[in-house]
Symmetry: C2
DNA sequence: AACGAAACCTACCGCGTTACAGGTAATGGA
DNA sequence: TCCATTACCTGTAACGCGGTAGGTTTCGTT
């Protein structure tokens, strides 16, 4: 089976890369991107730092893979989102602090000058705002409170999600993230 | 003038420290705390790295001074805040991206493990939520939309401010931070 | 004039960092 | 069986980092 074995090798390599990306997510959550050393990531998958560089030639390349991984992860078609699914997602997130912490840390770093993830986040947020505006329009039409348009409401929705994450990460016992998010949604529902 | 000159020396020293803190704010805005080197801060005030260590014996000590500086800055008695003043503050902030960037970067870093500013932010947000709840109560009493209490609304208010800051820092031309914040306040005013 | 402290500096240490160079063992296809 | 590729490793270069040690100059006080 010529192709079968070739596949096996490729699959194994791909699995290794995925394993590394997963480890990188963890280390970034713990130390941020700047604080995450290749050696620390490598150690977590049983490699030397130089062994890791065999899979990702530079640290930035690893970060790119991490970001792509996330893109793939929540690439749900925007049309399939509904507001109550957003609430469920927030609830789900509350059970996986690791990933939230990774991307909250990255988002914070990304506003600094010349950060390799800056472009990514700028583009992503532009796109997420668009998606959210579409979701809001599908759900409420133009009947949002105070004559708000979906386009003007979307940044608020996104801001609430992100802002709550920071408060929750810093002090999970004082902040009921899913509950607060539902409160916000209720605020939007008032106009209907 | 024995005491007068003594004061001059002390004042000059204090001024130097303030100058250093200001420089540190800038460098942290550009590179985050982990990425900010003492040498970079020192250079900005015309000192060597070791000369800076004469004023702040460790890097952490400098960070503490930076955080204290901020505390002092917005130590307005909570009772004097009003909701429309919050809107003004957001508007004012939109003209000073540097400081916002500093503390947005620090907030992002602070959720990582063992970050020296983590305790500070945890305590600060707890306190800010309390303040905001008081402000909301003074303004709206218990008549918030949907039967929301001030205590449950405060985290949302804080989250919107922080979340908008990130979106705005990443893409100032796409995000009207003060306008969006006013939109949110209008949402709260609906119930009155 | 003499002294003590403050305000710096030079020199240096030890460590951690990314990345490059080059070698080696295993693997799998021709 | 041979050979190329893959998957690592050791070694090392080159640098930046926070922090220490110890000296020197400046300055205010006595």
């Amino acid at each position: 089976m010529p192709y079968g074995d070739a596949m096996n090798a490729r699959v194994r390599s791909e699995e290794r890369r995925a394993e590394i990306v997963r480890a990188a997510l963890e280390v970034i959550a713990e130390r941020g991107y700047r604080g995450a050393s290749l050696a620390a990531v490598a150690e977590r998958v049983g490699l030397t730092q130089q062994g890791l560089l065999h899979y990702f030639p530079t640290k930035d390349a690893l970060l790119v893979a991490v970001l792509k991984d996330r893109d793939q992860w929540d690439a749900v078609p925007a049309t399939q989102w509904r507001v109550d699914l957003l609430a469920s997602m927030v609830e789900y997130n509350a059970m996986r602090p690791g990933i939230i912490q990774t991307f909250s840390a990255l988002l914070g770093e990304s506003v600094t000058e010349g950060h390799p993830a800056r472009g990514y986040f700028t583009g992503r947020y532009r796109q997420v705002r668009e998606s959210m505006a579409a979701v809001l329009r599908a759900e409420y039409g133009e009947r949002l409170p105070n004559g708000l348009t979906p386009e003007r409401t979307a940044p608020l929705l996104v801001a609430v999600m992100d802002g709550l994450q920071y408060q929750w990460l810093l002090d999970p016992e004082s902040v009921d993230m899913p509950g607060a998010f539902r409160d916000f949604l209720a605020l939007l529902g008032e106009g209907a």
